[in-house]
Structures are given as structure tokens and as C-alpha cells.
């Protein structure tokens, strides 16, 4: 035998033995170490200091820190505690606006301008005082970045005519609109769009190529909010600390620091909530139901403004016949859907608006599950149920949409109507709803949509989904707003929505929206499936946590404090 070869084998065996011993040794060492200082994860999550840290997981990455660009919930969770608006919504009454950075306001007679009297003792995180020019600068920046770069949230305030806005004095600003737009005040309280950013910070980092300092502001933050950015580790976590100069002050109980790690899987968040290593869960319905009743965990069901709808293409036979659409509306089992899909949490929607939104009509008629009626209507329309074959598109990854689709399919089959299910991605829906021909009769028969509010005004729902720009060309998909997936065009409704957008008389607006809801329900361009309440899951030591239905997915951290939690 070759000595050299023998040596190599011995060397190899030695290496393996060393590796095994090292692995075993480190395990033994570590288990000793963990036993001695158990449990390590609870001790080392946060440094041992007096300050109170709230740990809130986020479900996705922060794409940008620029408030003019952010238009997704995971990103906005970080934006909202830092950047504020002139007005905010009252969490208990969506029609009521709370003065925030603006102390009071006046509305011009024709609704073309608004004067805001601003709060005086407010400073940005960098120390620059907040004033009228900051308001105009922020709006201008958001709208300009939308026009230049295609950032989404700017559309919420696109009615503003920046050139004609005036600074009356440092704390009074006149905001002029391009056209009368009654939802404007509500749009100004939205969490996306009208956020106020520090002009000094932006100007200091502006370059000729980047006049709005987007490249800088997408990685830095400077607002007036209660919390400031301390650390942003991409794909990992964000830490916010309290702004010591916050204009509302820090009397009372609050948290000093908010630590937001990314935990994408709801099941992982659930385990962490159960072991108490996070304070707020943000769980899916299934996981929330599973932890319900666990000592130390609170599961709260609160109304939200989220609605689920199935649109029917009103330009395409047989759904262009109102009676057929009504028949389909009678086919769906609304109560069964709430019971089985929502586990009883939620309710059948009454009309196109959510019940928690102002302007909703509590007496609006509702379709019920009535197969006999459905058959009668089909007969009246001149169709045999067997002749009706429809395709229903939904987003595959949204479990509830799939189950709603299957339920409709099963119920329709009972009377002989065929509904074929077509699962796709959110992005894929675009292709079937906006066919290349531009003709609505080539678009999908039916499609499911979840709607959450951009701002709490019925206009955000009705004008986005049931308005028609050009009544003379109803089969052209470009005659409709993007989300009018039913290609529904009704001139009476158009006139009502137009008037409701113009008049600043609140009572009149409510009246008009009630009329609109009844017209829509009668014409049945969509099935109004259910209202989805929000589900809050958190440890019982978290106090002051509430849900504002107008602010989807974001949390008012300023109101939260911790009581009775063992130090981590």
C-alpha cells in the first residue's frame, strides 16, 4: 500500500472527526450556554434599557421611505407614524374630520378653494418649523413626482391647482382646486397622498436632475409625526423612536421605541405572538381564530371599510340583460358565504358601500339567496339556465376569493347555470379586463374585487367603480375608470355622482349617494358579497390599540402603551 495514499485517508478521516467533534461540541456548549441563560431570545431581542419597545411585525418589505411614492400597506406602516396630514378621520365616525396639522378651515363658496389655518407650534424632525409653504411644497412635490415618475398616491390630491395656491400668512394657506371637488376635505385626511414633508430637508438634498430629492428621501425621513426613523435595515427591520419635540407632547403613557421586523408568514407571527416575543400579531383570519381564547392574547373584531364584490360585464351578452344580472345576484348564498368563508365574522354587504362609511343607506334593498327567483328572472329574460355559460376570474392567491368563486359556481350549477372559474394573479387580471381590442365585449364576464378605501368618501367607491366618462361610447373600455370592471354606464347615475362631487352641502351629498346606491343595486352590475371586518390580534399588555377603518393596515402608535408586560 502506498504510504502517501494511506496518509490522505487518515487525513480525511481526521478532518471528518474534527468536524463532527466541532459540531457536537458547539451544540453541547451552546445548549449549556442557553440553559444557563435561558431563554436567550427573550433576553436579547432588545437591549436592556428602561425604554419601552413595542414589537410589531410587518408582512412585507418597505419599498421606499418617500411618502410621495409609498402606496402599499407594508411600506405605509412605517410612513404613517412619521408623516402627518392636515386633517385626520375620527375612528368612530367616518364623516367627522379631526383638525390635525390644520387647526381649522374654511370652504370657498363654490367649493373651488379651501383656506386652512395651521397649527403653530409644530416642527419637523430636523427642527425646521412647519408652515404654509411646507404644505404647498409637499402637495406640489407629490403631484409632480406622480406626473414625472408615475407614483400612485398623488392622484388622491390631483384636484389641487398648485399654481393658484397661495400663502396668506405663514400659518394660513389657500388651496385652490382645478375643478369643484367636494370629496377634497376627505381626501386631505387620507393616509396616502396628502402627507406633509420637510421642504428644508428636500431642498438641501435636491440636485438639478432630482429637484425633489427623491433619491435622498426614499432612504431618509423627515416629517412632523410622533415617531422618527432610527434605523432601516432593508429586508429585515425598521426601528422608530419617539420624536421628543412632538407637538402633542408626551404626557401620559406611550411607547418609546417601535421595532418592526419583517415576518411574512402569518403562521410564524402566530407562534411569536403566542410566545410573547411580539406584541401585535397582524394574523390572518384562520390564525386569529386559532389563537382566540389563548390566555394573554386578545382577538378583536372591528368594522372596516373593506368590501368584496363580483363584477358582471354589463356590455356583454347575456350579462348585458339586467334580469340576468339580477338572477345571478339571487343565485349567490350570502349567508352561507359569511358562515363558511368568514367563519361568521362579517356580514352580507348591503349595496355597494360598506356600512361603516358615511353615506351608506341602511335601507338599501339587498339580494338574497333565492334560486326559484333566479330561475324566474332568467325565464323572463328569455334564457334557459343551461344556455348561460360564464367565466369568473379571481386572484388565485387570495383564498377567500377562490372560495367565494367556488360557492357561486356550486350554487349556479344547482339551477343549471355554468360558471367556469379562472384563477390568475392580480397582474393577470389586468389582461382580461383590459383586452387589446379596447372593446368591453371582449373583456372578462365576471371578476372579483376587494376594495379598501383610499380615502373615506363614498366617491372613492362609487366614482371609481360605477362611473362612466363617455356615455356615447359604452363598449369602449376607455370610457370607464379603471375599476369599473362591469363597464356599467347609467346616465342618471352619472348625473347624480357628478352633482355629489360638486356640491359641498353634506346633507345633499348623503341624499345623492343614497339615491346612487339604490340605482346600482337595482341595475345589479355587481354582486355585493360581504363586508370584511378587521381582526386585531395582540397581547393583553398592549393598551390603547384601536383600529381606524379609514387607515387600512396602519396603526396609531401614539395612542399605544404597555402595561403589565415582563421586561424582555
Amino acid at each position: 500500500m502506498n504510504t502517501k495514499k494511506g496518509l490522505t485517508t487518515i487525513q480525511a478521516i481526521l478532518i471528518i472527526i474534527i468536524l463532527v467533534i466541532a459540531a457536537a461540541g458547539s451544540y453541547v456548549w451552546y445548549s449549556y450556554y442557553t440553559k444557563k441563560k435561558a431563554p436567550p431570545q427573550e433576553e436579547e431581542v432588545t437591549p436592556k434599557v428602561e425604554e419601552v419597545t413595542l414589537i410589531v411585525p410587518r408582512g412585507g418589505i418597505v419599498m421606499t421611505l418617500d411618502p410621495a411614492e409609498s402606496y402599499s400597506v407594508p411600506t405605509h406602516e412605517v410612513i404613517v407614524p412619521v408623516y402627518e396630514t392636515l386633517l385626520r378621520y375620527d375612528p368612530k365616525n367616518t364623516s367627522h374630520l379631526i383638525p390635525w396639522l390644520a387647526e381649522s378651515w374654511e370652504v370657498g363658496k363654490n367649493g373651488m378653494w379651501y383656506v386652512f389655518h395651521l397649527r403653530k407650534n409644530v416642527t419637523f424632525h430636523c427642527g425646521t418649523p412647519f408652515n404654509a409653504s411646507a404644505v404647498i411644497y409637499s402637495f406640489n412635490r407629490t403631484i409632480s413626482l406622480m406626473e414625472e415618475k408615475g407614483f400612485g398616491p398623488g392622484w388622491v390630491i390631483s384636484a389641487i391647482d398648485i399654481e393658484h395656491c397661495k400663502i396668506i400668512d405663514p400659518y394660513t394657506v389657500n388651496i385652490t382646486l382645478k375643478y369643484p371637488y367636494a370629496p377634497f376635505l376627505y381626501a386631505l385626511a387620507a393616509q396616502w397622498g396628502p402627507l406633509i414633508i420637510c421642504p428644508a430637508c428636500c431642498k438641501a438634498h435636491a440636485t438639478p436632475e432630482d429637484p425633489w430629492a427623491y433619491e435622498y428621501m426614499k432612504e431618509h425621513m423627515c416629517g412632523t409625526g410622533p415617531y422618527m426613523l432610527a434605523e432601516w435595515v432593508r429586508e429585515d427591520h425598521v426601528t422608530l423612536v419617539k420624536n421628543p419635540n412632538y407637538w402633542k407632547g408626551w404626557k401620559g403613557k406611550h411607547v418609546d421605541k417601535i421595532y418592526m421586523p419583517i415576518i411574512e408568514e402569518s403562521s410564524t407571527r402566530r407562534l411569536r405572538l403566542e410566545e410573547g416575543s411580539i406584541d401585535i400579531g397582524g394574523l390572518t383570519l384562520e390564525d386569529a381564530i386559532a389563537v382566540n381564547g389563548t390566555p394573554g392574547i386578545i382577538v378583536e373584531v372591528v368594522p372596516s371599510l373593506n368590501n368584496l364584490m363580483i363584477f358582471m360585464n354589463t356590455q356583454k351578452p347575456p350579462l348585458n340583460n339586467k334580469l340576468v344580472r339580477q338572477a345571478i345576484s339571487y343565485i349567490f348564498d350570502y349567508e352561507g358565504a359569511v358562515e363558511t368563508i368568514r367563519h361568521g365574522l362579517g356580514a352580507q354587504a348591503r349595496g355597494p358601500l360598506p356600512s361603516a362609511l358615511w353615506g351608506w343607506d341602511p335601507e338599501c334593498p339587498q339580494y338574497t339567496h333565492n334560486l326559484t327567483k333566479a330561475k324566474e328572472l332568467l325565464e323572463k329574460a328569455g334564457y334557459k339556465p343551461e344556455d348561460i355559460k360564464l367565466e369568473l376570474w379571481y386572484i388565485e392567491t387570495v383564498e377567500e376569493e377562490r372560495r367565494v368563486a367556488e360557492l357561486l359556481q356550486a350554487e349556479a350549477a344547482k339551477i343549471g347555470v355554468t360558471i367556469e372559474l379562472r384563477g390568475t394573479t392580480w397582474a393577470g387580471l389586468n389582461d382580461v379586463l383590459r383586452p387589446g381590442s379596447g372593446n368591453a365585449t371582449d373583456a372578462a364576464d365576471m371578476a372579483i374585487l376587494y376594495w379598501y378605501p383610499d380615502f373615506a368618501d363614498p366617491d372613492d367607491y362609487l366614482s371609481n367603480m360605477y362611473y362612466c366618462y363617455n356615455e356615447s361610447d359604452p363598449t369602449n373600455i376607455y370610457s370607464y375608470p379603471y375599476f369599473n370592471w362591469a363597464y356599467y354606464c347609467n346616465s342618471t347615475l352619472n348625473r347624480i355622482l357628478d352633482e355629489a362631487r360638486r356640491t359641498t352641502n353634506f346633507t345633499r351629498r348623503v341624499e345623492l349617494y343614497k339615491m346612487a346606491q339604490r340605482i346600482i343595486v337595482e341595475d345589479a352590475p355587481a354582486l355585493f358579497i360581504f363586508e370584511e371586518p378587521a381582526i386585531l390580534t395582540y397581547r393583553s399588555w398592549v393598551k390603547g390599540y384601536y383600529f381606524n377603518p379609514c387607515y387600512v393596515g396602519t396603526i396609531d402608535f401614539y395612542s399605544i402603551y404597555i402595561e403589565g408586560r415582563e421586561s424582555r
Binding site: S31, Q41, G150, G152, E264, D454
Partner: protein
């Protein structure tokens, strides 16, 4: 041919491979129905705004023009800007790839350290209860879906037994100076024992999940190869000349049975890279797999392309290393 010539040739051959991969990925990802411009602008954004976004992302141009522009930038080393993270894909990849390499390499070590001994034990105890037990174990290992196993292990070890952490590469409170991006290496360099132990503690469960299938495959393959080898004439010869059984097994049978195992292990590296897409998502592991999975869900073309290219390079290099290892294991093979 000398070894360096062989390596050089293989590296040059990677260029057409990468070209093919980019063309394929580019075409497939762009043929998937969908509108990344809408996703980037925001779901409720009006169509005009989405159009501006589309132009900015260059998605309004014909596909071949988009590919040409992409390749032109790629040659200069520019992988484009990710739609979802809004920063250069190359930066995203550079911060994430150590996580994936660390995880797969650790899993590979588990496969080798456990799969090979188990295969030997199984073959030397042929048809005995221990062999049966190990065969059932390996059947379980090969057939169990990794995403299910991951959740099960999380439930068992993290929730009930509380001996492993739920996810992440290191506890958030532990400070580790980033030098190479590999937590284990960085903590050794900086002599940070706490970070080293914590990283090992974090990596074990995801790496074990990733390794189980490979471990079982190696065990089964080695067992059958060993059984085959043990009936060969040279073994009979070795036994006849009075070599101790241990030497017969380790020096003669094992060494001859290892070559197909090394091939499989090399290919397995590719399989494991694919597995990281799921494992990293479940264990909140900061690596390329989780990044790639998210890129696909968001139709983030530049990120999908960047991830694919990176995975191809890693896979090709892993295969190259296997080929070099052959020479060590089997002196008959020369390049």
C-alpha cells in the same frame, strides 16, 4: 489537459450557458400575464399614472427591444433596478447571497456528515432491524415535502420544545460586524463567540430541513453502491489476504462507492438552491431564495433575471467543484 485549463474552459463555457438562461428567463417571465407597472404604481392608481410608470420602467417597448436594452446593460454589469425594493438588483443580490450560500453549505455539511455514515451503517447491517429502520427513515426523508416538514419542525422545536428559534439568521439584539456577509465567518473573524453560537443555533433547523431529502438520497444511494461493491472480486481478495473488515469497508468498498454519490451531491446542490425559495420564506431567512420568491410574485423582472443569473452561476461553480473532486476520489479520472 491541466487542471487550470479545464477550469478555464468550464468558466468560458458558462458564457453561452448564461446567455441561454437570460433569454429563456426573460421570455418566460415576460410572457406571464400581468402588469408590473400597475403593481409598482399602486393597485388603485389611475391608468394615466400607470402609463407614466410603464414608460419609466421601459415596459412600453417591444419585447426584443427590452431584451436588447437589458443585455446591453448586463454587459456593463448593470442588472437594473428592482421594481419592489427600488434599488439596484446587484446591491440586493450582494446583500443576500451570503445568506443562501451559508444555508446551503451548512445543509451540505449535514448531508455529508450524516448521509454517508448512515449509508455505511445501513449497508454493513443489511437486512438487520437497524437497516430496516434506516431505510424507512430515508423513505420518509425522500418523500416528505420540505415546506410541510419546515412548518412541522417549527411547531415542534420552536413552539412546543422551544429549543430552536423561529427564524432569522441571528437574533435582532445581537450585534455582528458585517465583513463578508457570512454570519458564521464574520463572527469567527471578529472573535464574537456569542454571535457565532447564535448564528449556528439559528441555522440548524432551516439547514436540517433543507438537508433531509439529500441526506436520505445519499444514504440510499450509498447503501446500494456499497452492497454492490461488497460483492466484487477485489473485496473478496482484500478479505482473503486478511485485511481487517474496517479497512475493507472504508478503504476499498466506500471509496469505490463514493463516486456516484459525489455526482449526486453536486446535483443536489442545485436542488437545494431551488429549495431555498421555500425554506427561506418559511424561516424568514435573509437570502436570495426569499428575494427570488418575492420577485416572482411581484413580477419584478429585473430581480427575477438577477436572481436567476446568480443561481446559474452558483450552480455551475458547484458542479465545477464536483468535477474537480472526482479527480481526488478516483485517480483514474484525469482532465
Amino acid at each position: 489537459m491541466k487542471l487550470w485549463q479545464f477550469i478555464l474552459r468550464r468558466l468560458i463555457l458558462m458564457i453561452p450557458l448564461l446567455l441561454g438562461i437570460t433569454l429563456l428567463t426573460f421570455t418566460i417571465s415576460h410572457l406571464v400575464p400581468g402588469d408590473p407597472a400597475r403593481l409598482a404604481a399602486g393597485l388603485h392608481a389611475p391608468p394615466e399614472v400607470v402609463e407614466i410608470m410603464r414608460r419609466r420602467l421601459g415596459l412600453d417597448k417591444p419585447l426584443y427591444v427590452q431584451y436588447y436594452l437589458y443585455m446591453k446593460r448586463l454587459i456593463r454589469g448593470d442588472l437594473g433596478t428592482s421594481i419592489m425594493t427600488r434599488r439596484p438588483v446587484i446591491e440586493d443580490i450582494l446583500t443576500r447571497w451570503p445568506g443562501t450560500i451559508e444555508l446551503t453549505t451548512f445543509a451540505m455539511i449535514i448531508i455529508i456528515l450524516m448521509g454517508i455514515p448512515l449509508g455505511i451503517i445501513s449497508s454493513t447491517n443489511k437486512d438487520k432491524p437497524l437497516d430496516h429502520f434506516l431505510r424507512i427513515f430515508s423513505l420518509f426523508g425522500v418523500s416528505i415535502p420540505s415546506f410541510w416538514l419546515a412548518l412541522l419542525l417549527q411547531l415542534l422545536f420552536c413552539k412546543y420544545l422551544k429549543i430552536f428559534p423561529l427564524g432569522y439568521r441571528i437574533d435582532p439584539g445581537i450585534y455582528l460586524k458585517r465583513i463578508t456577509g457570512f454570519n458564521i465567518i464574520d463572527s469567527i473573524i471578529t472573535l464574537n463567540l456569542k454571535a457565532l453560537l447564535n448564528s449556528l443555533w439559528h441555522i440548524f433547523l432551516p439547514a436540517f430541513t433543507l438537508a433531509l431529502q439529500g441526506m436520505a438520497t445519499v444514504q440510499r444511494l450509498l447503501r446500494s453502491n456499497m452492497l454492490d461493491a461488497l460483492t466484487q472480486d477485489y473485496i473478496r481478495m482484500a478479505r482473503a489476504k486478511g485485511l481487517p473488515e474496517r479497512k475493507v469497508i472504508y478503504r476499498h468498498a466506500l471509496r469505490n462507492s463514493l463516486i456516484p454519490v459525489v455526482t449526486v451531491i453536486g446535483l443536489m446542490y442545485g436542488g437545494m438552491l431551488g429549495g431555498t425559495f421555500i425554506i427561506e420564506s418559511i424561516f424568514s431567512w435573509q437570502g436570495l431564495g426569499r428575494y427570488g420568491a418575492r420577485a416572482i410574485l411581484n413580477l419584478d423582472f429585473p430581480a427575477i433575471m438577477g436572481t436567476t443569473i446568480m443561481y446559474t452561476v452558483i450552480y455551475a461553480i458547484a458542479n465545477l467543484i464536483v468535477d474537480i473532486l472526482y479527480a481526488y476520489l478516483d485517480p483514474r479520472i484525469r482532465y
